[in-house]
């Protein structure tokens, strides 16, 4: 299991290749990568991600451990950036390795649902018209009820 909270960008290709190569006893590898998407008006200049150093690592570790136990994962990877990101930049990725695809998919979705609403990150979007904190979505909170 590896958890990384970092300001620097990451190489999704290298991370995926490393993670996959390390698990030849696992038949199924799922990755999710989150990318900063421009707003609908196409005016997003940048996004700033604030986090709670210390608690972030702790929360992500707990979420990853829960997923590993619950779905008997061979391995879990969570990378999440903070700081300033431009549209098109990768914010985060998770990867899960399991013997079978169902567990790998479910665990990855669980990780995403939990880190959306339970890991202490906050996004602020900057356009030429000003800055605004991104509101938490009701549907993200609702998503947790299925687990």
């Amino acid at each position: 299991m590896r958890i990384s909270v970092q300001g620097a960008s990451f190489d999704v290709g290298a991370e995926t290749a490393n993670f996959t190569a390390g698990h030849s006893d696992m038949g199924a590898i799922v990755t999710f990568t989150g990318v900063v998407r421009d707003n609908d008006a196409g005016t997003l200049d940048r996004m700033e991600i604030e986090h709670y150093p210390g608690m972030t690592e702790k929360a992500l570790t707990e979420i990853a451990q829960e997923a590993q136990t619950r779905w008997s994962l061979g391995d879990v990877l969570v990378i999440h950036r903070h700081g300033t990101l431009k549209p098109g930049e990768m914010i985060m990725m998770v990867a899960t390795a399991s013997r079978h695809r169902k567990n790998a998919f479910e665990a990855a979705e669980y990780l995403m649902d939990y880190l959306k609403s339970r890991a202490p990150f906050w996004k602020k979007e900057f356009t030429k018209d000003g800055a605004e904190w991104v509101d938490a979505k009701d549907e993200d909170e609702t998503a947790l009820t299925r687990w």
């Binding site: 604030e50 210390g54 890991a119």
Partner: protein
């Protein structure tokens, strides 16, 4: 007690962290003390349903006890991922 603020809570209160001398026994008591301090605190804590709290880096409810706690953090709902 170390008290931390994040995102718009930090912006409204105007600082990221401070040390608070308090006898509060629950998070809710601490919130009452902070609210009473100044308008900017009253504003930041005006709607607790829009806030989340962590005691010693664990999410908890506003009625959580503060006995033995070192660090309390207030912030809006999280938006990771």
């Amino acid at each position: 007690m170390k008290v931390l603020y994040f995102a718009w809570v930090r912006e409204r209160i105007g600082l990221p962290r401070e040390t608070v001398e308090t006898e509060a026994t629950t998070v809710a008591d601490l919130v009452e003390e902070l609210r009473a301090r100044e308008e900017r605190y009253a504003l930041a804590f005006s709607d607790l349903s829009a806030l989340r709290v962590a005691v010693d880096q664990e999410l908890c409810e506003f009625d959580a006890p503060l006995a033995g706690a070192h660090e309390v953090a207030f912030f809006p709902p999280m938006t990771g991922g």
